[in-house]
């Protein structure tokens, strides 16, 4: 076996072990088995909530995706509250009472978030108005009636091109 082959095998081995190590945390996902909730409806509410609630430590992950200990605690709490018979809105209220609206991935519509919700629509309307304005202006130009003189010049030019080709 030549040195080059040996070297490339070594590199492969290293790459492979790096892959295994980097995949490790993902395996942890299935851990922490919470028992199924009594009804399908409750299970659905739970599944929806852990997708919509934010893991506050990691900021850009929801409770479902996060491995953080706080996320596990909040999943357990959500599970517990639903098992107690609380509905979607009651769990949301419970969480926002404690952690603020930041815990929700979808920010609620209220005075402090009007700009957040409104600006995209405002921007859309502004751009739409500009586009309509442009199109109108352009179509106005096309609609201009040619005077007799202009038409004659244009015809002459076109004739000339025909002759040339």
């Amino acid at each position: 076996m030549t040195g080059a082959v040996l070297f490339s095998r070594l590199v492969n081995l290293l790459l492979f072990s790096a892959l295994v190590v980097s995949v490790q945390p993902a395996i942890g996902f299935a851990a922490e088995p919470l028992p199924d909730l009594p009804s399908v409806e409750q299970q659905r509410t739970y599944d929806r909530l852990i997708r919509e609630l934010r893991c506050l430590v990691c900021k850009n992950q929801n409770l479902l995706d996060s491995n953080a200990e706080l996320a596990a605690d909040l999943r357990r709490k959500t599970h517990e509250l639903i098992a107690e018979g609380r509905n979607y809105q009651e769990v949301v209220d419970y969480m926002t009472d404690r952690f603020g609206t930041f815990v929700m991935y979808r920010p609620p519509l209220k005075t402090s978030t009007y700009a957040l919700w409104g600006l995209p629509f405002l921007g859309f309307i502004v751009v739409l108005t500009l586009i309509i304005h442009r199109i109108r202006k352009r179509s106005q130009i096309q609609l201009l009636e040619l005077g007799d003189e202009d038409r004659k010049i244009a015809d002459d030019l076109l004739d000339k091109r025909k002759r040339d080709s």
């Binding site: 200990e69 605690d73 909040l74 709490k77 926002t96 404690r98 609206t101």
Partner: protein
């Protein structure tokens, strides 16, 4: 006339740029880790937890009538070591009652940690499950709450305390609350 209108139009990208620059500059000074707590101005959540030192039950009512600090800590928390001397000093000064909330910790580790770093707490509530932490909206240790005589949360700080926060925010607030009482 036509030229001036064109010039007027050309200024818009510049205006938008300035607006964005101002917004970004303002955000630069903000701490992205800081999440405003909805608990400020509200009654501190009730709790009944064992005390780390004497194993009797401890509840919020035991602090009634005092201005108190609730410091959330754990032996596994690295930043807690950083702020701990400040709490020790504050405790020695006797200005305010300091209560610890030992958050998701192992009892022996917690006791050892206090032996090593000093114990500024008059009481230490043991929250092994983290449930009381959830009630207080704890998402990062250390966190510190200031609670007034009637049990209302007046102030919250997330992350390690520093001398500026204590002297410029916490101490004046304690003084104010204690004056209102007398």
């Amino acid at each position: 006339m036509k030229l001036s209108k064109k010039r007027y139009k050309a200024i818009w990208p510049f205006v938008v740029f300035c607006g964005l620059a101002v917004l970004l500059y303002i955000s630069l000074g903000k701490d992205p880790q800081h999440i405003p707590s909805p608990l400020i101005g509200k009654p501190a959540p009730d709790f009944t937890l064992p005390d780390l030192q004497n194993h009797s039950l401890l509840s919020k009512q035991d602090m009634q009538g005092n201005v108190w600090l609730l410091n959330v800590w754990a032996s596994w928390c690295v930043a807690c070591v950083e702020e701990h001397p400040l709490l020790n000093d504050l405790s020695a000064s006797g200005i305010v009652l300091i209560v610890g909330l030992n958050y998701k910790d192992v009892q022996n580790n917690a006791v050892e940690w206090l032996d090593k770093h000093g114990n500024p707490y008059s009481f230490i509530a043991v929250d092994a499950s983290g449930d009381v932490g959830i009630d207080y909206g704890v998402y990062g240790v250390p966190e510190t709450f200031l609670v007034d005589q009637s049990g209302y949360i007046q102030y919250k700080h997330v992350g390690p305390l520093n001398p500026e926060i204590i002297s410029q925010q916490i101490l004046p607030l304690i003084r104010l609350l204690q004056e209102q009482e007398s």
